[in-house]
Symmetry: D2
Subunit: 278 residues, 4 copies
């Protein structure tokens, strides 16, 4: 019940997308046209890999419980850093509490994770899911959200070895627990995961009616389509984005990621394939 | 650019109006149908006179920079106290900063003050208006809002002796400064002032197109209109409210306060008269 | 690693002890002479039963992550309410995170709970202790502290039926888990529990070297000892306090609660007995 | 009534001094051996010029009202950025309010400013001093501290043209106002100012008994003195620091800046001269 954005490409100040876009992440925090909730004011987070960091290095995370729209620190930091891969997230809490440990993105070693959506009737199956987390990973659960539990399930099921399989196994575990508790459609949402090099973005729901997800067209194509768009000058040829909803209203710039799909953004660009379909 | 409510009558837990009404103040913080802004998430405040306090005693104020909608402390406190006269306010900041000293209501001795609206181009005339504040009152200005300056101008012009004349003089001073700076319509808004015994609620704008303001019909009339409305059981016969917009959709419960009017809520009930008209 | 105070007696504004005492709880937050840590700046909490509330009614809780020493809302609220039984707590976090859900006191139905001290090597036995919580109570664990887990263990072991036995069983469970993990002295601390009518205050540590705990002498005795002490006028004859360290330096006013003891404060006054001794 | 540090030299992650030193700024926030107050828990700030920024570019500022000692965001950001010139400050508020706009450093265009100390009886002369600020600069005063007023006086008196003369004139203006109001020693403190290239650090008080101030010995000398000190490997040959108190206990590493002195740290290293002496 949130909005999020993941960027990969040439190192960039996150402010270009977080603050300056027509429908920037900060703008979405106050008014999200395609969101399940129009207001996403229950905290935010920015996670970024350093422009000069060694591959595999831990990303930095800045999280706050304040609404993003007037947060001065978010403005400062998103303008002051440069990153080739960053996540931004604004939260609409399905339930309190509002606290930093419930703000996305979550981090484990070199991994970042964020989520829009939820696990239906989470309170009734939380204990079972928490028990399914590897005991060595259990102390890393710092907050109380369904999303953080989902992340730790994916870590348990081998995120570091095979991210797509691990997120798939985590979701199947959630569905199993939910179905056993009589929940018809346990899983909903879009999820982004990164290791500093690649972004995996999942769009999936048990019902097959997932939260929206879009990816950007490749920049050289956009330059050809919009030769006069000065805003494109801010971006390199390898810049690409996955995002909860289009960052602007220009036709052809943002393309929908299909249902039951995982999108992969890496050095070869964008591609996607079926995920947990059928 | 806010929403507010003032209650006077039998001592009541503020939660009845702040949390439990159909369009409670907390509900308005997230979605305000009649507001200039639909989201009022830049902090809130609750000011209340004690149920047993001596007349003239200082009211208590609880203010926070968090959005009201998920604030657990606001829930606790508005349920735990009883008050015969309280103010509640949710803020939509026209400009940052978001800080407690910019949250309404403001307090001076036994007086409370809150405001929805603004002084046009305040930055350009702020210095002049601040200079017009009585030097002995100047140290009491703790924040940076136009509203707090307006309150201190009203104090300067004799709020404690004649509230209606003092608020009128403060507004006229603002309009004088604004006009001198080339601002056509310097003043906008609705204002509530209380001394622990009486509430004065002003609706006025230089343009004659003020923010909305409503008052409740008297409770015995409402009981006759809606004999089956169990929610009315929570209120005494002298309960009355002025509020930025109706707290529910029942016809006849909330009546508009006219333009250029001051409404007075005291032990004799509700009455109003022209204010700065013509 | 905190400081706390529990009051029972005639209804009183908590400010008398939280703000106004020589070594008030707020003063202890900045400088605690007898504390394991001298600074207790990682949030605070105030829990209180209403002066007019029905027996068994749920207490109110106000908690914040700000340091207590300059918190304006704590000043306001502790002066504005009246309560015959209240808890105040200032936190020194052994480990982050600093969030409201980690601030004491904790509440369940009509019960309040707070703690000074800790469970040694909590991270290594947390999962086991959390599993020992009754599954129906598990969703009530909102934060990440050892203290909140201890409270839910006491609830699991029958706090509502026999508070002394239940807290004892919870501590024994902690010691069992700790010893199994090779921890020599698993439990440390002082604990206060209340149901709105009675306060139970425990002083216990596995090592037999517990955090300090004091109770006040009875007020009529104090009036005889200090006939000129005007501050005593604020208190009724049944006022009594248990507290981490004396609230003032007057000889004879605060008396130490012995090691391995539970102190009981009820309408008959103060008494204590051995707790988990030997 | 605070602690601060200014660094200039090879680009460095601020964490090296803010987090990792023996008596780091974060450590000083909780326990400051030489401070007028031992606890500096009323917020903090980090201001930094970018490693690749054009000369004259605006620095970034991250400020928070939380105590520095457990602030996760401060840890993240001070490790993630690199800067050739940064300021860090932890606040002990002489008076509330605790709000971001009262946290140091303050910024204007390419300038940073921070202060430890205070203006005696500020409330009584604040209005006069605020009136002495250039009206065009007046809207830039966002908070309520004496320090921010002092900064704006220095800007008024030509900080951009001659920083030493401008700070001197600002202090003389404060002393003039204070003396007229019967204050014997109006000014107290240490002040740091930077333009992105040079740091000016002032130690001055009307009484001649100023808050402590130290600067680091030059790094090549330190390497010769302490050939085995591995921590020195983190620093380049041009690294230099001015700081409220020594960052470690090694003899000879930190040298006192004399009373009534301005220290200048630029590309040629450290030098100082008399300031407002006699």
């Amino acid at each position: 019940m949130c909005r999020w954005l993941a960027y990969t490409g040439e190192a960039l100040a996150p402010s270009a997308l977080v603050l300056d876009a027509q429908h920037s992440v900060v703008a979405m925090s106050l008014n999200s046209p395609l969101g399940a909730e129009t207001v996403n004011g229950d905290g935010f987070g920015l996670g970024w890999y350093g422009a000069d960091a060694a591959l595999g290095a831990q990303p930095a995370v800045f999280r706050s419980i304040e609404p993003a729209w007037h947060d001065q620190n978010l403005r400062e930091i998103s303008q002051a850093v440069r990153s080739p891969l960053f996540f931004a997230h604004v939260r609409a809490a399905a339930g309190p509490p509002i606290q930093q440990t419930n703000c996305h993105p979550f981090r484990h070693d070199r991994w970042l994770f964020m989520h829009n959506g939820g696990i239906a009737q989470f309170a009734s199956i939380k204990r079972e899911l928490v028990l399914a987390i590897d005991p060595s990973l259990y102390p890393g659960v710092q907050g109380t959200t369904d999303s953080e539990v989902l992340f730790h399930l994916a870590l348990t099921y081998g995120l570091a070895e095979d991210p797509i399989a691990a997120v798939g196994a985590a979701i199947r575990r959630v569905e199993e627990a939910g179905h056993a508790a009589g929940v018809r459609f346990p899983m909903q949402g879009t999820i982004a995961v990164a290791d500093g090099d690649t972004v995996w973005a999942f769009r999936y729901s048990s019902q097959g009616r997932s939260r929206t997800l879009f990816h950007s067209a490749d920049v050289p194509t956009l330059r050809a389509m919009y030769p006069d768009a000065e805003r494109l000058d801010a971006f390199g040829d390898h810049a690409q984005v996955v995002v909860s909803e289009p960052l602007n209203d220009l036709p052809g710039v943002f393309l929908e990621v299909p249902e039951s799909t995982v999108a992969v953004l890496d050095r070869e660009g964008y591609h996607h394939r079926e995920f947990l379909a059928g």
